[in-house]
């Protein structure tokens, strides 16, 4: 009985964690794919971000925010995220498969 309860609990824990991995995109991250395609083969001049180096994404966002890097709309959007929020989003995008 004790064993069965442990197994049940472990199974439930696994079920929960598998959701958590997918659902735990950091705040803001899910919006990016509105312009930066999540899938390959979309006809757009906007670069894909999935699988890119997290440091590169963070640097780009920082430079958009400060005006160092020219932009059309990303300068205005980058200002809406703090350093920590940006880093979390960058790490999430980097971890997505290319």
């Amino acid at each position: 009985m004790v064993h069965i309860r442990l197994f049940l609990t472990a199974a439930a824990a696994l079920a929960i964690s598998s959701i958590a991995f997918a659902a735990d995109a950091p705040p803001g991250a899910s919006s990016c794919s509105g312009c930066h395609p999540a899938t390959a083969g979309v006809a757009t001049p906007v670069p894909r971000l999935n699988g890119r180096d997290a440091g590169q994404i963070t640097t780009a966002m920082t430079e958009f925010r400060t005006g160092k890097r020219p932009a059309t709309v990303m300068d205005r959007i980058a200002k809406g995220f703090t350093d920590d929020e940006t880093k979390a989003i960058a790490a999430f995008l980097a971890a997505q498969k290319e």
């Binding site: 197994f7 929960i16 979309v42 757009t44 906007v46």
Partner: protein
């Protein structure tokens, strides 16, 4: 659940894997599958609904997701102003649901005839009944047929609104094409809130472009129920530069349309009567009908929602996203609808698993095309504050003094955006 989590924390990942494998061998599968999955019904297969249904399946394939949609073909509103002015064909706006179905979403091509929030079920016009743990409403807008004297469904066949893409779009296009050079085109723009705040002004720009290039003796008047509108300075600068035959009449200059007379295509304000060759009446709007069935719309006609999960403030377990919802500072756009859909899906997945949703951040970007190589944007980030979505730092419109190369780049990005967002929702 608390006890489960506490125990889970004490177990290492390897323990969990080992035990889970053993448990899977011991337990009948349904018990495992029921662990955290659930039934979600999504009503409305536009940018919000299709995106939400797919996001839910991507988050947890075990969630049973049914998408209720009346039409087998979705016709996108963004870029439909280009169809009206002959720069694009309606076919480029049309999308099917095959890929949504391939993602594991069950399609129910029907309409909701009743929603029972207590029993948590939706009745469909085809006689089926769908039980849900969470219901997501993404119904878009309905025209307020009682909102403008003289403007009923019959009037819309003479003076099209073209604010839902499809027949209305091609009707307005045909009217413009058959109009003689020298005709008067009138656009009536509604008071806030309405679907796609910059839309009337993008449409005015592109119709002005069409007239300038094809029917240069013609004139365009925009009669407005507002004194201010989205990207106003950018539009007005472009009009001054490109379209001298476009006149905008603000609310305080007497621009508010008070009635229409379809028999003579006359548009009436408090101060004047305009007999149009082509009249495009963009009427007052409200959340589409299913919002009334589910009792989630307030007296404004729109649906108040929690800023964290987009759960209705009026009915538990029912979420509202996209144009139908009151989303604070976020405009009613396809980009917003798609962004809200993904946040809502994440929140619903958490709630089904008995977990607390994360405080969201959202982004919106709205492209408007003023001329074929001239695009402008409004964009920014949003966050909940005191229960309402507010503007984060930054945000705003394209620079007022940007060079032509920037305008051209934004027109190209507009194209790319359309391809990306329609691929994510339908492709």
């Amino acid at each position: 659940m608390t006890q489960t989590r506490r125990m889970a924390r004490r177990l290492t990942r390897r323990d969990v894997m080992k035990s889970a494998a053993a448990a899977a061998a011991l337990l009948p599968m349904p018990a495992l599958a029921q662990g955290a999955a659930g039934r979600v019904v999504v009503i409305g297969g536009g940018f919000a609904g299709a995106s939400c249904a797919r996001a839910l399946k991507a988050l947890d394939a075990r969630i049973n997701v049914t998408l209720v949609e009346a039409s087998r073909t979705f016709i996108a509103c963004p870029f439909s102003n280009l169809v009206i002015t002959g720069m694009r064909e309606l076919a480029a706006q049309q999308f099917g649901y095959d890929k949504v179905a391939a993602a594991g979403v069950t399609l129910a091509f029907s309409t909701a005839s009743a929603v029972d929030p207590q029993a948590k079920s939706v009745s469909l016009a085809d006689g089926n009944r769908l039980a849900y743990d969470r219901l997501v409403l993404a119904p878009g807008i309905d025209i307020r047929w009682d909102g403008l004297p003289g403007y009923d469904e019959a009037a819309a066949n003479v003076m099209p609104h073209a604010w839902k893409a499809g027949e209305q779009t091609t009707l307005l296009r045909r009217q413009l094409e058959s109009m003689e050079d020298g005709g008067l085109v009138v656009i009536s723009a509604p008071a806030n809130p309405f679907r796609c705040p910059p839309g009337p002004y993008e449409r005015a720009s592109l119709i002005a472009y069409y007239l300038k290039t094809k029917k240069p003796k013609s004139k365009l008047i925009v009669l407005d129920a507002k004194d201010a509108f989205s990207k106003q300075r950018l539009f007005q600068n472009a009009w001054k530069e490109l379209y001298p035959n476009l006149e905008w009449v603000s609310l305080s200059s007497g621009g508010k349309v008070t009635s229409v007379e379809p028999a003579s295509k006359t548009v009436v304000t408090d101060f004047s009567r305009h007999q149009a060759a082509v009249a495009n009446i963009i009427p007052p709007q409200k959340a589409a009908r299913v919002a009334d069935l589910a009792q989630v719309a307030d007296r404004s006609g729109w649906c108040p929602v929690d800023a964290m999960t987009f759960e209705s403030k009026q009915q538990p377990n029912i979420h509202v996203i996209g144009d139908a919802a009151i989303m604070g500072a976020m405009p009613k756009s396809a980009f917003s609808a798609n962004a809200q859909a993904k946040v809502c899906a994440a929140a619903v997945a958490k709630l089904l698993a008995g977990e607390k949703p994360v405080e969201p951040r959202l982004i919106n970007t709205c492209y408007s095309v003023v001329a074929p190589d001239y695009g402008i944007t409004v964009g920014g980030a949003y966050r909940p504050k005191d229960g309402v979505l507010v503007d984060a730092e930054g945000g705003g419109v394209s620079p007022i003094d940007a060079p032509a190369s920037t305008r051209a780049a934004e027109a190209r990005y507009a194209d790319g955006w359309f391809n990306t967002i329609t691929t994510e929702a339908f492709g």
